[in-house]
């Protein structure tokens, strides 16, 4: 029996830099990720993926493979257990059939999982998977997205497919300045450094799974339904996660590992190869977007139309809602947005960092830059003149709307006022120099979560929550949030995450993680503090308080809730070689209360670098003949390296406070990428006088486009 802490003893830890609580483990290699945990008797599974883009599996010649050294089993549609896929999961969607492996003989895209070879060692599994002969009845395939697809249709994803008001054609006709352009973005991949991995074993009727995911509750819920288990019979753990960016939900490894572990009666680990990741873990669809803007002589919008076409697979409807960004950012008397999709013989796309907003802001914010050019109005001034007072589509009030504050602070820091608006007139040696800007926003939502906070008998506190730290610093942020609510120093708080046995919680996604979990942790910790009697005694097991934010979230007033930002970039372009380098970049954000400036700045800048990477490097090339990716690996798919990032890059923030919001914390995982590619592309125009409306702005495209003095 010990004495409960006196209070208040500690000031709020918010707003000062805190190194990561798991930092030492990460720099010494002690942190164990999904594929790092040793198991006795571990067997290894390796997928075999289809080499055709459409057709049917005629036969799998398993006998020679089963005779190979160390091979324990070959799972495929002919022998795998039947799973349930007719349900709507906690994310509000049906499962992507890509993850519900081996249920039929159809092949809907190249790289579809057709078998899993299980062997004693990874080398044996890989050799056997390579050796498995599969014959297909191949059918003609179609993998080409284009603007004029007659089979495209408007589709809802997490938002309406179409919104419209006013007479678009009449307002455009009456506009003094009109922009009507098409913008394209390519297929992009998450390419997180840690491959998807899952290790499963069955203990009696209970499925235990260690994986790398963005939400143990989410994965456990899906596996529970697929395998028709009782929720208490599934435990999913994911302590350290090597990046997710939207891709680490339920994927083939978890499902196949669970199947294989049942088949061979021992733990089975399934790890995707880097190339396999490029076909079975989702991606951001390419988009073809059209933006039409009409403005009066003063630059005020009379008409705005933003349409976006993306692709999805034949087995799953996923909509990349790129036109959604216009529903938040700008209003006009005539306003129309449409997200449509076309079904192709391609893998299913999925959420990828700022789904919708990332490609959508490229089109919309470049179009705004073009409107600024045509109207002779400064790009920032143009945006300030078109800053709406209420949600353009919803009509709801904004909880906060700090786009203008971000632009003003950014303009001051970046030196925007001294900018010469003329394109193609600045030179530094072989480089043409230009600057560009763009606005950013991302929805600030919350998902119901539960948390438990325990006052331990030794005076410390333990937080348990099924949260996930995919690199966001969530574990550290939750430590600080608990310490703040408990009024104790952070070093007295321990946070355990990544275990579905801790109870349901939201995912690390949609910039909702820290807001959702922080809410639950603060609620439980706050109540616990109330319950602790100063000087009172604690029982040996301590005192635990649990929270559940379901009702609090449902009780939130209807408002437009978003984080905001303004992006600034300076680029250098050599039009004789096509090389583009970002020289300097600044992001100014309004994203609620910043819990830990050290990790927040890192994450926001990381998002901005994603914008650089998207603007200049990233493009997955789909081969029309095979339907598969050309060069689908980290040598073929270029992400930004150290050398692509300027020394002068920073993120700062301005106040962003909603007095009615109970937590005032927003996720910052996505707003950093929004508008970043547009800022770079607008800077390339300012440098060269040439508009690049297709990404990435690769050297060959710069060379073809030419420029002044080329």
């Amino acid at each position: 029996m010990t004495v409960a802490p006196q209070r208040p003893v500690a000031p709020s830890p918010f707003g000062t830099a805190h190194t990561r609580v798991e930092g030492r483990d990460k720099v010494t290699g002690a942190a164990r990720y999904g594929g790092d945990i040793p198991f006795a008797g571990l067997a290894h599974g390796m997928f075999v993926l289809s080499t055709v883009a459409r057709g049917r599996i005629v036969s799998l010649d398993t006998a020679p493979v089963l005779a190979m050294p160390g091979v324990l089993a070959v799972l495929h549609h002919g022998n795998a257990p039947r799973l349930t896929s007719d349900y709507v999961g906690m994310m509000g969607v049906r499962p992507d059939p890509t993850a519900v492996v081996f249920q039929h003989d159809r092949v809907p895209h190249a790289g579809w999982p057709v078998a899993l070879v299980v062997a004693e060692t990874p080398e044996q599994a890989r050799a056997a998977a390579d050796a498995l002969a599969v014959t297909y009845e191949e059918e003609p395939h179609d993998v080409t997205l284009s603007a004029d697809r007659p089979d495209a249709y408007a589709a809802e994803g997490h938002m309406p497919g179409v919104t419209e008001k006013g007479d678009l054609e009449a307002e455009l006709a009456a506009s003094a300045h009109v922009v009507d352009e098409e913008y394209t973005t390519p297929e992009e991949h998450h390419a997180m450094m840690e491959p998807h991995v899952a290790t499963a074993w069955w203990d009696g009727g209970r499925l235990d799974l260690v994986d790398s995911d963005q939400g143990v509750t989410w994965v456990a819920d899906e596996l529970t339904r697929m395998f028709s288990l009782d929720p208490s019979a599934v435990r999913v753990r994911s302590e350290h996660v090597g990046g997710g960016f939207g891709s680490k939900g339920v994927r083939p490894p978890q499902v196949a590992a669970a199947m294989a572990a049942a088949e061979v009666g021992r733990p089975v680990r399934v790890t995707l190869t880097r190339r396999q990741m490029f076909s079975v873990t989702g991606y951001r669809s390419p988009t073809v977007q059209r933006v039409r803007l009409g403005a009066g002589p003063d630059g005020r919008l009379r008409a705005l139309e933003h349409t976006s076409l993306s692709q999805t697979s034949t087995v799953f409807e996923f909509v990349e809602p790129s036109a959604g960004v216009a529903r938040t950012m700008y209003d006009a008397p005539a306003h129309r947005t449409e997200n449509s999709v076309v079904r192709l013989d391609v893998p299913s796309p999925t959420w990828m960092r700022a789904p919708g907003e990332a490609p959508g802001s490229f089109a919309l914010e470049c179009a705004f830059d073009e409107l600024a050019e045509r109207s002779g109005i400064d790009p920032i001034e143009l945006r300030l003149r078109n800053d709406p007072k209420t949600g353009p589509v919803s009509g709801l009030p904004f909880a906060t709307r700090n786009v203008a504050a971000c632009f003003r602070e950014g303009a001051r820091r970046f030196g925007w006022d001294a900018r010469d608006p003329r394109p193609g007139v600045r030179r530094d040696g072989r480089w043409l120099i230009g600057t560009g800007t763009a606005a950013a926003s991302f929805f600030a939502g919350a998902l119901p979560s539960t948390a438990a906070v325990t006052a331990e008998a030794d005076g410390t506190f333990t937080v348990r929550i099924s949260a996930s730290d995919i690199g966001t610093g969530a574990r550290t942020a939750l430590t600080l949030i608990a310490a703040d609510a408990l009024h104790v120093p952070a070093k007295r708080v321990r946070v355990h995450i990544g275990d579905s046995d801790f109870g349901p919680a939201g995912i690390a996604g949609g910039s909702m993680g820290t807001r959702s979990w922080g809410w639950a942790v603060a609620a439980a910790a706050g109540e616990l503090r109330e319950r602790l009697v100063p000087g009172g005694e604690l029982p040996p097991e301590g005192i635990t308080v649990r929270s559940d934010t379901t009702q609090a979230i449902a009780a939130l007033a209807a408002k437009e809730r978003h984080s905001w930002g303004a992006q600034f970039a300076e680029v250098a372009v050599d039009v004789t070689t096509g090389e583009v380098r970002v020289r300097r970049m600044l992001g100014v954000f309004a994203a609620g209360r910043i819990v830990n400036p050290l990790t927040a700045r890192n994450q926001l800048v990381g998002g901005m670098i994603w914008g650089i990477s998207m603007a200049l490097h990233e493009e997955a090339v789909r081969d029309a003949a095979s339907g598969a990716l050309y060069g689908g690996d980290l040598a073929g798919y270029h992400v930004a390296t150290h050398a692509d990032v300027p020394a002068d890059i920073d993120a700062v923030w301005v106040d962003d406070h909603d007095p009615e919001d109970p937590v005032n914390i927003k996720g910052i995982g996505e707003v950093g990428i929004v508008g970043a590619a547009a800022a770079v592309a607008n800077a390339v125009w300012h440098a060269t006088g040439v508009r690049h409306r297709g990404l990435p702005i690769r050297p060959d495209r710069v060379l073809r486009a030419g420029g002044p003095h080329a």
């Binding site: 080499t51 080398e123 890989r126 050799a127 390579d130 072989r430 004789t576 070689t577 096509g578 090389e579 380098r581 200049l616 490097h617 090339v621 081969d623 029309a624 003949a625 095979s626 598969a628 050309y630 060069g631 040598a635 073929g636 270029h638 930004a640 390296t641 150290h642 050398a643 692509d644 690769r698 050297p699 060959d700 060379l703 073809r704």
Partner: protein, 330 residues
């Protein structure tokens, strides 16, 4: 990956004997390309003969002033060597422009010359590729080829050689020497790679079982003023889409000597002799540099999506030669 036997060779004769006994065996140098290709199933050797311990890791000058580079010298050691940095700076620059610090520590000179193309169809077993599977067809012709060859290719293969080092070595008249069980041989690097023709799977003049022992750089005064420029799709750690190794000797405004080679344009590092002929004796001006580039690139036969390389290489040649000319006249 298929199972294989592994042997470590202690001397050159032993290494050659071990390979000669087995046509499906391969020498293992740094392994940066071979192990990669084995993982992809492109290479399926029955035996690896590890040559990293052979005494071929020296860089020496001969009495004639030539620099002899052992085949197992790593890229890093080559780039950092004072002889190379001072006498052939473009070679140091070329090596440092390739791959990453880790890969340069592993990769060897011999292996660099024998590395295979990074064409994405070559490394994808499910796609036709004449280089990997003779007679199966070339997927790049009608497919993705924006980084494929514009010079010296054929309708059977349009892959490019990925080496940066090789471009500089080609410019500096390097000679490749090898040993076989029967004896020794050598060839200038410009003759080392075979024309593509209808046999893209046959890449070099090396006899079966031959082990590259060293690469010799003849003395070249002009090489001391040389430069390598590489353009790629990100700032580092990517293969070239175009590169130039150049050396220039200018006096009184006239080009006295020149060396020029182009990278990422052909199945081999491309020595630009037609351009050199235009350059030598010509005024050292951008106009003549462009004329030289045009003379070389007149033979370019671009595909629908790689025509930009002709512009890129022309601009690169002019830019690099201009920089060198300015340096010389300083």
């Amino acid at each position: 990956m298929r199972e294989f036997d592994y042997r470590r060779a202690d001397d050159v004769a032993g290494a050659v004997a071990l390979l000669d006994a087995d046509p499906d065996a391969r020498y293992l140098g740094g392994g940066t390309n071979l192990v990669d290709l084995m993982k992809n199933g492109v290479e399926t050797p029955t035996r690896l003969v590890d040559v990293r311990s052979l005494p071929l890791d020296g860089i020496e000058t001969g009495e004639d002033g030539a620099v002899r580079i052992g085949a197992t010298v790593t890229n890093s050691d080559l780039a950092a060597h004072p002889l190379i940095r001072d006498r052939y700076p473009a070679l140091t620059q070329a090596v440092l422009a390739g791959a990453s610090g880790q890969l340069r520590n592993m990769a060897t000179v011999g292996g660099n010359l024998l590395q295979r193309t990074r064409c994405g169809y070559f490394t994808d077993l499910s796609r036709p590729c004449n280089k990997r599977e003779p007679g199966s067809g070339c997927s790049a012709l009608e497919g993705e080829h924006h980084n494929h060859a514009v010079l010296g290719a054929s309708e059977h293969c349009v892959a490019v050689h990925p080496s940066d080092m090789g471009v500089a070595l080609t410019a500096f008249d390097a000679v490749v020497s090898w040993r076989t069980a029967d004896g020794a041989g050598e060839a200038p690097l410009t003759d080392f790679y075979l024309p593509v023709g209808d046999t893209p799977h046959r890449e070099t003049v090396l006899p079966p079982g031959a082990l590259i022992t060293h690469v010799t750089l003849p003395p070249a005064h002009v090489a001391a003023r040389s430069r390598y420029r590489k353009v790629r799709e990100r700032a580092s750690y990517a293969f070239a889409i175009g590169s130039v190794a150049a050396a220039l000797d200018v006096s009184d405004g006239v080009v006295r000597d020149a060396r020029l080679a182009l990278g990422a344009v052909a199945s081999r590092p491309w020595r630009a002799r037609l351009a050199e002929r235009v350059l030598v004796g010509a005024p050292a001006t951008a106009e003549y540099f462009a004329a030289a580039a045009d003379a070389e690139l007149a033979a370019a036969r671009p595909l629908p999506h790689n025509g930009y390389k002709v512009t890129l290489l022309r601009n690169l040649v002019v830019a690099v030669l201009t920089e060198l000319a300015e340096e010389t006249s300083r």
